[in-house]
């Protein structure tokens, strides 16, 4: 069976028409004065899903999260959680908890009192609070730091306290606002996997807001890509990457080569595209693009082969000159200027330590790709 992105997913309630949505944004609009932060947005999130809201700053992703938490009320539309309309319910009565970007640890309280804060508000009996706090400290591996104050902790430890505090009440949904934004790169990568493990262990629904596409791709079951308060695409990470719905999404996630052109000819199997600059491209999957339509052919750099001679078996092969080379260790990135002027980015995994046929700057080169390597975008 073929699948996108070499991943098989068994957890996929979004493909099940009978699955009950857990969180529902129904035509939600949020305006701040004249500024529309969220524009008539609808979105469905399922139970136990790790859902990411991805977008540049000002795209409305944080506003969505704050509306779920109850800090903002939608101007129009409604938000449902497990069938219940959240309108008018204040944050302190909502069964959701949030981990703040700044962590918002209470500076005058010890780590254990920070974690116990929410439990105390619920009037939980003392022995139970102590047991839950111990459990949480163990979960985030901070047992020996229970008596410390937040300023006595390192950034990574603070992040874990914030996490423990937000899951201590076992909320229906955990909201994470740029949870790893303040950590350095190495720690961030480790923590991404820790967060995924934690979500599996606790069986909670996670909604994470991030501007970091790699973070969203790593952690999330599905990603919603937002722009100017609207959803551009909601899909699994491989779908977002391999089958972007629009130019915006293709550009936003990862690197991409785009060929402007028209559909020149459609047959049952293949579609021929006439590039605006002259390149002829044959593709299998042109979607619903009709003949004569203006389209963009998008192809990821790693799907393009680069060679000094024209490959005999290639369906699509274009000639040009090596313009720039970047050696990154695990792979090498070539920028090739095609003879029609278009720049193409091609990347090659350095699977072997030695290469038979190395390329140099200003060499003549051929870029080639299969007929199913790219996608045709009509939007």
């Amino acid at each position: 069976m073929k699948s996108l992105g070499s991943i098989r997913r068994d957890f996929a309630p979004w493909n099940d028409p009978n699955a009950k949505p857990y969180i529902q944004f129904d035509n939600v609009t949020k305006k701040f004065g004249d500024f529309t932060a969220v524009n008539n947005l609808s979105l469905t999130i399922f139970e136990r899903e790790f859902f990411a809201l991805l977008g540049a700053s000002g795209c409305g992703k944080s506003t969505l999260l704050r509306m779920l938490a109850g800090f903002e009320e939608p101007t129009a539309g409604r938000i449902l959680l497990d069938g219940q309309d959240l309108r008018g319910i204040p944050p302190y009565h909502r069964p959701v908890n949030m981990m703040f970007q700044s962590y918002a640890l209470f500076p005058h309280m010890t780590v254990e009192n920070n974690i116990a804060f929410g439990l105390k508000q619920d009037g939980m009996p003392k022995p139970e609070i102590a047991a839950r706090v111990a459990e949480m400290l163990k979960l985030v591996k901070l047992e020996q730091f229970a008596k410390r104050k937040p300023h006595q902790l390192s950034g990574g430890q603070r992040q874990r306290v914030a996490l423990a505090r937000s899951v201590a009440k076992r909320p229906k949904v955990l909201l994470l606002d740029e949870p790893l934004g303040a950590l350095d790169k190495k720690l961030r990568e480790e923590t991404q996997f820790e967060l995924m493990d934690l979500q599996q262990k606790l069986g909670l629904t996670f909604v994470v807001v991030t501007h970091d596409q790699e973070e969203a791709m790593t952690m999330a079951d599905r990603i919603a890509i937002l722009d100017k308060g609207e959803v551009m695409q909601v899909a699994t990470p491989p779908e977002v990457y391999e089958a972007p719905a629009s130019r915006f999404v293709a550009h936003f996630v990862g690197n991409v080569n785009m060929f402007e052109g028209k559909v020149a000819e459609r047959t049952a199997q293949t579609t021929r595209i006439a590039g605006a600059t002259g390149a002829q491209i044959v593709v299998e999957n042109a979607g619903d693009a009709a003949a004569g339509a203006d389209i963009v052919f998008a192809i990821r750099p790693e799907k393009i082969r680069i060679s000094s001679r024209k490959p005999a078996d290639a369906v699509n092969a274009l000639e040009g000159e090596v313009y720039d080379i970047a050696y990154l260790g695990d792979m090498t990135v070539y920028h090739v200027r095609l003879d029609d002027g278009q720049m193409v980015r091609a990347s090659t995994m350095n699977a072997a330590r030695v290469t038979e046929d190395p390329l140099s700057w200003n060499d003549r080169a051929w870029v080639s790709f299969r007929s199913d390597a790219g996608v045709v975008l009509t939007r």
Binding site: A69, F71, P91, Y92, A104, H108, F117, K149, H151, R165
Partner: protein, 272 residues
């Protein structure tokens, strides 16, 4: 710092400090004077301190000052904190500019005018001048100072702390008392101390608004000095200076210790 101790530097420092502190040093020295004459040294003695504690008038005035100071500083702290909260939290309400202007006006208002206008008001409404009116006047005077101190802390206050508390189930009232208040407490305490100090050394407003039976220490000292400076007054002033100096020293030491502790903690945290 790599300052060279040139003759010029030394001279200017000595002159500067002498200008600032010589009068106070003289006052302290002469409070230990044996002689009754203020300007003639007659040998060391602490008898003026003993007689000070037997001077019922001065002791009464000190007691009035302390009570006025504590009460007015406390009320001013509550009101000033509320004003600061209003000014930082509700940034858009009708008349905000007017409100903030009126809160901070006493900062720059000449004390004579504040005192006189309060006096006119008290007379107009028929309030008997005394302990109550001088306390009220000091609240008016010191509230704006508290508001300034607390407001500057609130501006840098991370609102997400309050949101986090509410998110975890605390109602707004609980959030205020469990999170906001403890976090801004150092500023509130400084505000209280500032208000207390201002009330302690106010002469002008107290003279306008006080009445019989409610003479504050500065008023008493001033009236006695008009009859001639006695070493007893010097002793009283020395005690006042000592109290204020000890307060300042304790406050700055506590601050310094906290700062050092915080740095040590942060270094420990970095090491993991």
């Amino acid at each position: 710092m790599n300052a060279t101790w040139s003759r010029f530097n030394i001279t200017s420092i000595v002159l500067g400090f002498a200008f600032l502190y010589l009068p106070i040093v003289l006052l302290i020295v002469f409070s230990f004077n044996e002689s009754k004459l203020v300007t003639v040294w007659g040998g060391f003695s602490t008898k003026w301190y003993v007689s000070l504690f037997h001077n019922q008038g001065l002791m009464d005035a000190a007691w009035v000052t302390a009570r006025v100071g504590v009460i007015s500083a406390t009320v001013a702290t509550v009101l000033g904190t509320l004003a600061a909260l209003t000014l930082t939290r509700y940034t858009r309400f009708r008349g905000r500019v007017l409100f903030s202007g009126m809160v901070f006006a006493p900062l720059v208002m000449p004390e004579v005018i504040t005192g006189l206008s309060l006096l006119l008001l008290f007379v107009a409404v028929g309030l008997d001048r005394g302990f109550f009116t001088v306390t009220l006047a000091h609240i008016t005077l010191t509230m704006c100072f508290v508001a300034v101190v607390v407001q500057s802390r609130l501006i840098s206050f991370d609102r997400s702390l309050e949101e986090a508390a509410m998110d975890l189930g605390a109602t707004p009232v609980k959030t205020f008392f469990q999170i906001t208040l403890p976090v801004i407490m150092p500023a509130i305490v400084s505000g209280w101390m500032l208000a207390f100090t201002l009330s302690l050394d106010d002469l002008v407003i107290a003279s306008f608004t006080s009445g019989p039976g409610a003479t504050t220490l500065p008023m008493k000292i001033y009236s006695q000095v008009r009859l001639g400076v006695t070493p007893e007054i010097n002793a009283a002033c020395t005690i006042l200076i000592a109290v204020v100096a000890i307060g300042v020293i304790i406050a700055s030491l506590a601050n310094k210790r906290r700062e050092v502790q915080r740095q040590l903690d942060e270094q420990a945290a970095q090491r993991g």
